[in-house]
């Protein structure tokens, strides 16, 4: 097993609603990501997977639990103390269109953090780094002159990946980054991510609602439901022999591109109570 990079224990997060009542989003969740390891976090909407990711990066403050990154406890760090960590922990967002400043060129978007974190001394040196990174993620160098709206969804997601890896991080969180893409573009992005994690010995937490995508690139998977971890283990084991009825149901709900006349009528093992519960929300 790879050496620990990020270990979170007993993470509890509650969102405060207007009026003061707290809505628990995570109940005592734990996750461990080893150096260079890709761990999938899967769950349906409302399962808490995005909140977990945000808690790992310090974007939401847990009310309980601890997060240890490369041996140091980072749970309670203030903004100033967290700054050096920002370079080492990066994020790729779900919607590259809304995460890239529409008024900045891609060149500016990519060089600014490199200069900010002192990875290059001059703009010219930063630009040279950006050229290398663009080559690596499969974008032409001319992309630096473009604006995000001029790019395709796949190209924008490559820019998102380029921005994340530009700072040579140790850990990257990717939140639903292929969900809007066509399968062929998705395959390109997944392959690129897989290659980069290997080359850079990058640890990746990969959040997705899609178990098939998780299987493609993750070594281990965490299955979440209603703010809790339902099951955790190596992909080979979880997909071959899920330990819980919920995981089984999630797997059985994925339509594979094969004709299977009995599939539609096969009832799930577990009634998804979540749907009725969501219907009652006010």
């Amino acid at each position: 097993m790879a050496e620990d990079l990020l270990v979170a224990r007993d993470i509890t997060v509650a969102y405060r609603r207007p009026g003061g009542a707290e809505t628990p989003a995570l109940h005592g969740v734990g996750i461990r990501v080893g150096k260079g390891e890709t761990v999938g976090i899967v769950g349906e909407s409302g399962s808490g997977k995005t909140t977990l990711g945000r808690a790992l990066l310090g974007l939401v403050q847990p009310s309980r639990g601890s997060i240890v990154f490369d041996g140091s406890d980072i749970t309670m760090l203030d903004e100033a103390a967290r700054r050096p960590l920002r370079r080492r922990m990066q994020m790729i967002f779900q919607d590259p269109m809304s995460s890239l400043n529409p008024r900045h060129t891609i060149g500016r978007i990519l060089t600014a953090p490199i200069l900010l974190h002192g990875l290059a001394a001059t703009p010219a040196a930063a630009l040279a780094l950006v050229h290398d990174i663009l080559d690596r993620v499969g974008l032409v160098r001319g992309t630096i002159e473009r604006y995000s709206h001029e790019l395709s969804g796949g190209q924008r997601q490559r820019v998102g990946i380029a921005r994340a890896i530009a700072l040579r991080p140790d850990f990257v969180l990717a939140d639903e980054i292929v969900s809007g893409l066509d399968v062929s573009t998705q395959a390109q992005v997944l392959r690129l991510l897989q290659e980069l994690t290997r080359e850079m010995h990058l640890a990746l937490a990969f959040i997705s609602h899609d178990l098939s995508v998780i299987r493609s690139i993750c070594q281990r998977v965490l299955v979440m439901r209603d703010g809790e971890v339902v099951e955790e283990g190596p992909c080979d084991r979880v997909f071959a022999a899920p330990a819980t009825a919920y995981t089984r149901m999630l797997i059985d709900s994925i339509p594979l591109p094969t004709v299977d006349p009995g599939w539609l009528d096969a009832a799930p093992d577990l009634a998804p109570a979540a749907e009725g519960a969501a219907a009652a929300r006010t």
Binding site: V183, H209, S216, I254, P255, P257, L264, E275, R281
Partner: protein, 304 residues
């Protein structure tokens, strides 16, 4: 074109369209497809393949930057493209219904569910308010909503995505249409809810003999619900046939690549194969020569 097993209900013939905004670039290239009575026909392809342009052409809501340049949309022996607007409008909802992609925007947020379902029943089926209310209750019951009275009294924001999609399905099937256009109806839903919705659409259409044109980018979804498939690329039909034939023995390299690009939880190391560049290059060459051929043939014909 493959022949359907049943008499055709929707017969799209040589439908062509161009994009006026983009240098008159063709967006549909002589698309022909038949949907039989009681058939679920999958229209698959990547974004920009022309799937939703076809759906919009059937519904008469092609955006202004797209111009239909040829072909027919035969529905029960009439060409929808030649119908006067009033007649087409009367047909929509009554004989042809839509299940939209995004259940959160398709419902009017300021009206209760009951009003949104009963409108159609009163306008298109001439029911009284009381009859329509009773029918709406029965419809929600039919789409397996456990507490129809509560849902009828709700506003859309009080319902989950899956519940809203059930309401829209109830509204679409409620008028007993002959043809339902399902435009990526499960894209916004969780997988467990998606499976329930697919099962629901299949059971309603088979009970009522409804024909369904099922638009999707997801080969897994169409594999489970469609009888036949049409695969589109850049507005051109690449492959057409029974679902099992297309998926088990694809004839076109593009279809093969599309299947290979799908990740599969039952097999490791899948979902990492993008469409090979030579497959795209050959397909584009095919399309270029098709366009050249069409331009040549068109040069001799005067457009009226």
């Amino acid at each position: 074109m493959s022949t359907p097993a049943t008499p055709s209900r929707l017969a799209i013939d040589m439908l062509s369209a161009i994009s006026l905004r983009d240098g008159n670039r063709p967006v549909l290239r002589q698309v022909s497809l038949d949907v039989g009575v009681g058939e679920v026909h999958g229209l698959v392809g990547e974004s920009g393949a022309g799937k939703s342009t076809i759906a919009k052409a059937i519904l008469g809501i092609v955006p202004s930057q797209v111009k239909l340049t040829g072909g027919q949309i035969g529905f029960e022996g009439r060409d929808l493209l030649k119908l006067p607007t009033g007649e087409l409008r009367a047909l929509l909802g009554r004989d042809i219904a839509l299940i939209p992609q995004d259940p959160s925007t398709a419902l009017n947020p300021s009206r209760r569910i009951e009003a949104q379902i009963t409108d159609g029943l009163r306008l298109k089926r001439g029911m009284s308010a009381k009859e329509a209310r009773a029918r709406a209750y029965a419809l929600l019951d039919e789409v397996q909503i456990r507490d129809p009275a509560r849902v009828l009294a709700s506003y859309p924001h009080q319902l989950s995505g899956g519940m809203r999609q059930r309401v829209l399905i109830a509204a679409a099937f409620g008028l007993e249409p002959k043809l339902v256009i399902a435009d990526e109806p499960t894209t916004a839903l969780d997988v467990t809810v998606q499976k329930q919705i697919l099962r629901l659409i299949r059971s309603l259409q088979s009970r009522h003999g409804t024909s369904v044109l099922f638009v999707s980018h997801d080969l897994g979804v169409v594999a489970k619900i469609c009888d036949r498939l049409t695969v589109l690329y850049m507005g051109k039909v690449v492959e057409q046939g029974a679902t099992a034939d297309v998926l088990n023995a694809p004839r076109h390299a593009y279809t093969k690549a599309l299947i290979a690009a799908n990740p599969r939880y039952d097999q490791p190391d899948t979902g990492l194969e993008p469409t090979p560049p030579q497959v795209i290059a050959e397909l584009r060459a095919e399309i270029a020569s098709f366009d050249a051929h069409v331009a040549q043939a068109g040069a001799g014909i005067s457009h009226g």
